[in-house]
């Protein structure tokens, strides 16, 4: 695939991510922090976010499977997930985590379980799209192109 096609795909992918609210301005802020001395900063942070999120989702699932659910524990995990997704700019994940915490405070198990499903879905979506975006970036650079500057 040539650079022009890759760039077109990259721009489409990025536009969709922002238009659908999957990512917000914080992601743009992170992209601005990469430079010649730290060109793969975004890839590093995103990878850390993925690792962190897998753990949190596992913890959330386990906590909600307990015979007696510790809602404070669930709320703590949801709070952490909210924090990391907010720092990356994963807006939809963050928004589900906000609702998740409210259900924890209310000790509403059904609500929590619904949020768990929703957050898994939103996380899978942002993971898939971000991996795609970052892969396209690498392909563009490898093909001799350059990424359009961040607005």
């Amino acid at each position: 695939m040539d650079v022009v096609q890759l760039l077109r795909q990259y721009i489409d992918c990025k536009t969709t991510l922002f238009r659908e609210g999957i990512l917000d301005d914080q992601f743009t802020q992170l992209q601005k922090l990469a430079d010649d001395s730290s060109p793969s900063f975004v890839v590093e942070v995103v990878s850390l976010f993925f690792d962190d999120s897998e753990k949190l989702l596992k913890n959330l699932t386990q906590a909600l499977e307990q015979p007696v659910v510790d809602f404070k524990q669930v709320a703590d995990h949801a709070h952490q997930f909210k924090g990391s997704s907010s720092s990356i700019g994963a807006q939809r994940v963050k928004n589900v985590c906000i609702a998740f915490r409210t259900y924890c405070i209310e000790e509403n198990l059904d609500g929590c379980l619904k949020c768990l499903q929703q957050v898994k879905h939103e996380y899978a979506l942002v993971k898939n799209k971000l991996e795609n975006l970052l892969r396209l970036e690498q392909q563009i650079v490898a093909a001799g192109g350059s990424i359009p500057p961040v607005e």
Binding site: D35, V45, L48, D52, S84, P149
Partner: protein
Amino acid sequence: MARNGVVSRRRRTEGFDSSDLSKSDHAQQAHVLAVDDSLVDRIVIERLLKISCCKVTAVDSGSRALQFLGLDDEKSSVVDSLKVDLIITDYCMPGMSGYELMKKIKESSAFKEIPVVIMSSENVLSRIDRCLEEGAEDFIVKPVKLSDVKRIKNYMIREDRSSGEDRGTNSRKRPRDGCDSLSSSQSLNSPPPSLESKLFNRFYPTVLRPSPSKPPSPLFSLSPLPSSSPLPRSPSPTPSSSPCAPLDSPTRRVKLINSAHVMPS
């Protein structure tokens, strides 16, 4: 991508990197101790600070921060307090909260002068009140942005030293870009801005000011709220609300200001 004017990035594009800095440049760089239990947030804040020409030590808990400073129970050798120019800490952390960490720092004779900034993902007025009352220089609502870091650089001790100012007990430096109207007549060695003026400027950065040469920026940063959401944004899940305070207390005045029923004199 090289659109913002931070010095370090211009230097990098001119072919400099941090190893080209002379020893004296390194010595002049502010050293920030960043405390956050979230790895993602630590990486981000570290990067934000480094891009803003700061040396950074990032730790994952309040107790590690105290260890680093030599304030832990081990009574290890005391780190020279001059080595840390600012402490920035998350509020919500397991074990010791950022608030508790700040209290310990402010209780220490060696470190109480180090400015402390609190970060939190939650915009809770009572929490902000408490932190400012306890001596926090600023309260940043996460996610932290480059503009937040640029602003807090103004609080750093090393800034004072390099400009040769008196570092007495009132060594807090007010933000360079714009002063609040309530303290504009005060000298830099006068008492720091009152809690009322800090909180007033937070919510009404441009109201009731004499027209300055350029619009002052608010002393504190908030992530922009969605337009449909009034302040405060959400009830605090933790029991941190202060009890109903007398009418003329700072907390009460903030509540009145926030509801826009009263303009402070």
